[in-house]
Symmetry: D2
């Protein structure tokens, strides 16, 4: 059994992670840490876990947790993670970090987009960007996984094959993404209160969202040249799910949707969690919500010679907790789909 | 492995059942029958099952299904079930039926509330009412389980201990129930279209809903006298979940909430899926949605000497598909929680 | 023109009031007061008012406001209202107060249910409880209207005719009410955040909600005897609307729904905003949301000899801002429906 | 008073139109026609109109309606409108048509995108495309207004100034639009049932939606050259509202958002219903839902030299019924905002 602990267990990514871990056949939960609720039972905060996981929430005690854990999941705010994670790495404990702190190759990019000094930049070179489908080979060789962002996972996977095969003009990429409200985390901010969100749709942080830099970094690595793109996040009134509509001009104006689907299928050959839809079908967030799947539909706008890829994930599963478990499975050499193998809720 | 087939696999109760069965460790799915979609793949109708369950949907062929199945789940309209079920029983195949057709001891009660003649009343005496917590002992001894209704499961379990212990006036029972829209089934009726349902709440079939008779039958058996009660269903704008607020006058005006909680805890001692909340806490539908749990909070209105029990279930799980699997587990002698052991989604 | 000012203009009741006042043909808005947003424009806080009402929000200056206003609407927290309102009354300015502070005849009842000392109990005897349909005659004769609560308005109007005509057992009254989330006000509390509320239903403050005492006071006045009842509030995932399902045992077991409808129609004869539904039809919140209407459906449960009245209002209109304007119209002798005459949104 | 009749009064655009007309001070409603509900009262179908508009719904009688009406609103399916409208035009009755049938200059474009033969192409040359802000001068001179589509109104108004001033590359236009479910009309289709829509987001008719041709036609007229663009509609789980995120490459890479705002403000100078947001603010659908306003926020993505315009309307008001009334007001020479002057609901 893999002994795991979770820091930040009562946020939305945290509780989803715990939900998966309670049914994961190879996992034993050792410690759950919560600053806000230390001293309460997990099932006092999330009553749905009554009789299922009544474990006590703790304050952070690095020594104890490091001693008892094979791997620690850190679902902490950026900046905070950068201070805590090195303490576990120093004790040879594996860390899967949910924050943005270890996702960048270049600390200057991080510091520009996050507006703060990095607390532990020496770890950046060893950290592996845990987008499993792209970096599966290096994930087992590190102790520090930078678990990707939700918008990022969806956008990169939607565009990676087109970028790798250079079928699109890299200067023409536009990603228009729609996210559910869990993406804002468990928070009491007025703008995510029920009456402000329901029956509403908005764009936000247009041309300024941090995930832009993360998407650009990873696609640039694939392209082997610098890609700059437009990324627009939107908030739609649902809990879970991201749908990213990705646009780019096709280099070869004669290429068909079927040909592009073949490129995508080849690129993602053998990938358990990637589903390329047949021609004429498009994914919807309800086909992935509650699961670790990544669903894509491909369309060619023949009139404008544009590729349109519609891609859906569950933002707190494949976009956070599910991918974290997928990373753990790869790190520990167990079948990648263990514990995250279920179909979406649909209802 | 238990070989199972599902009739009516593409309705909402059907798809939830299939979702559970795909991850149930002791089950092999043999046939999925759908009148509407025969000839298509299950994953064509529910794209969330792509690569998970791509099995072909079939028309009904009783002989083949009976030959290949240890148990058949029939999620068919009432009236239709009454015609199909006997064909499987005649072939010694176990049946777990989701309709109202086999829930009544007295066919006259069925015919009055359902407004049609019963097609196979000879089976009523052998059918067991599959409310697992109440009839666990007789479930293994029958081939025909009448899986209870959703409102019914929630209401009966909320009141059974109070009725059994005769702490309430049986003439004073009022059940005010609020249901999510999946309770109406997968249907294209105008009144369950999105724009008619969202941002709306309504009562319907007030003092006329069929489940009234089912609740009365079962509580009367427990009371060992005839109980007549008021049951009011409401539709609230969510997908899953029923919350029943149950009212009754207390016989002993001095009894405390804590004493009643003790009665409830004693009555449901050892029950895996029943959770009695501590004093001052109340269940919410999100604490059970996606799970097989039944959550109850107990309150005494001291000013009016009334018992108020708030009870929540997921209407398509404990109220349909989850309880059906619980029944199957009991019938086949495997641990009752197998495959339905997970916590609610919460999010 | 009636010169009006609003204290607490940026809460949900406040903004709805302002929305009505901007289109009211007999009103001139003088001052809008907001503690939180003084110094900003109203349209900075509510961008939907851009170019419609760009007036500056102010801090409270009693002298200026009193001098400039014929009537002041106070949408302030209870306790605070009790301190501010007397200052306007002392200056002979009419006040329509949204808080609970002046709704009680007996300050002891207020202090018990609200848990604080009343700051200005001397005003209680002059304040009129502004439930327009019941107190229309005394409203013009006071300077201080205690605008009723939302649950209260819905519950009292649903039961008043049955109580007045003594057709029900006063010891048997149960009110099961379902409210939209605007009822919680504009707040950033975690439990009304989108992800905690959507797809959820819960009961809260069972047998303890303050509005119980207000309902009891007013129904007791009508009955001319003390009525004690059970009131259970629920939160359902919509913005606007209350649906109250009211139960009581019928004294005359032979009385029909039609006869009771006649009693209700007679009682509310000539009332512009009361709609008694024809037999077999029931109100839904979408039939009143966005309007000042009060819709009622009447049902007799013949099997249990119970009256069931289903009543719907918009909680922030007839339950707050709409009724406040109705009160103002009566106070100033203009047609009662002025400015609040529109049909519900439905969509 | 303007005597008006409505054909298709019980669809969602129809009922919104009727709602406005009941409070419009210059209008008298003569006839409401409904195929589905002829013989019932309007308030039987929409109970929110009880006591407000209890007029009887009628079958279509062209002679009577033409005789009694100054203007007829036709909210009929495309194809049907093309057969009915000419009958009123022949009788010199003004028509404001909600369908696509008279929106095209070239019947070939209509027939290609709508897949049917036009029943009355001779009327196309006299019909005026009723996008009020662009065609205000010609609206009074016609008897036939082609009321624009919802996606179309939002998209064209968002881009018109940029196209007119030629600040963008016309080959680079992408419109990513998100619509509420009322856009699908009042229908019982399974895919707009509550449980299929809520908690879901999807793209549909990607690169194939009819409104593409309408947007292209109007922007091409403004540009005085042929524009071809990408338009992607999405369905988000709310009732009302469209948010269109419009992308285009800037010709002058040095132009600032403020300069573009000035161009927009100049272009829409004096327009009552257009609101250009200040720098850094963006519209949300709740700022326009329930109103006739068109709200726009302008952003320059400096890193990619792209213009991003976010534009919101209420799809059944400015996108249908509200704009129809605006057209009527212009046709009859009364102030353009009469009856449609209110702020958005917000809540």
């Amino acid at each position: 059994m893999i002994k795991v602990s979770v820091l930040g267990a009562t946020g939305y990514a945290g509780v989803e992670l715990v939900r998966i871990l309670t049914t994961h056949p190879e996992v034993k939960i050792e410690h759950l840490v919560s600053n806000s609720y230390a001293g309460k039972r997990f099932s006092d905060v999330y009553q749905n876990f009554t009789n299922i996981l009544d474990i006590m929430l703790e304050s952070l005690d690095v020594d104890t947790i490091a001693k008892d854990s094979d791997v620690v999941f850190t679902a902490l705010p950026h900046g905070v993670a950068g201070q805590i994670v090195p303490q576990f790495i120093a004790k040879q404990v594996k860390v899967i970090d949910f924050s943005g702190d270890y996702r960048y190759k270049d600390k200057a990019v991080y510091e520009e987009w996050y507006g703060l000094e990095h607390a532990s930049p020496h770890l950046l070179k060893d950290a592996v960007y845990g987008l499993c489908e792209l970096n599966r080979n290096t994930i087992p060789n590190t102790d520090l996984i930078a678990n990707p962002g939700c918008y990022t996972t969806c956008s990169i996977l939607a565009l990676a094959p087109a970028v790798a095969e250079k079928i699109i003009d890299f200067n023409s990429i536009i990603i228009d993404a729609k996210s559910g409200v869990t993406g804002a985390g468990r928070s009491s901010a007025l703008d995510i209160s029920f009456c402000e969100c329901t029956e509403n749709t908005k764009a936000y942080k247009v041309a300024e969202h941090r995930h832009t830099s993360e998407i650009e970094q990873e696609l640039s690595i694939i392209a082997n040249e610098q890609i700059t793109l437009t990324f627009t996040p939107h908030l739609v009134p649902l809990k879970r799910g991201i749908l990213a509509t990705c646009y780019a001009n096709l280099i070869d104006e004669g290429i068909s949707a079927e040909q592009i689907m073949d490129i995508y299928k080849q690129y993602y050959k053998g990938e358990r969690f990637i589903r390329i839809y047949p021609n004429g079908k498009l994914p919807e967030t309800k086909f992935v919500a509650g699961s670790n799947y990544v669903d894509m539909g491909i369309k060619v706008d023949k009139r404008t010679k544009r590729l349109i890829v519609v891609c859906c994930i569950d933002n707190i599963l494949k976009g956070a907790a599910g991918q974290a478990v997928q990373n753990m499975n790869i790190m520990f050499g167990i079948p990648e789909e263990t514990g995250i193998n279920n179909a979406a809720f649909y209802l």
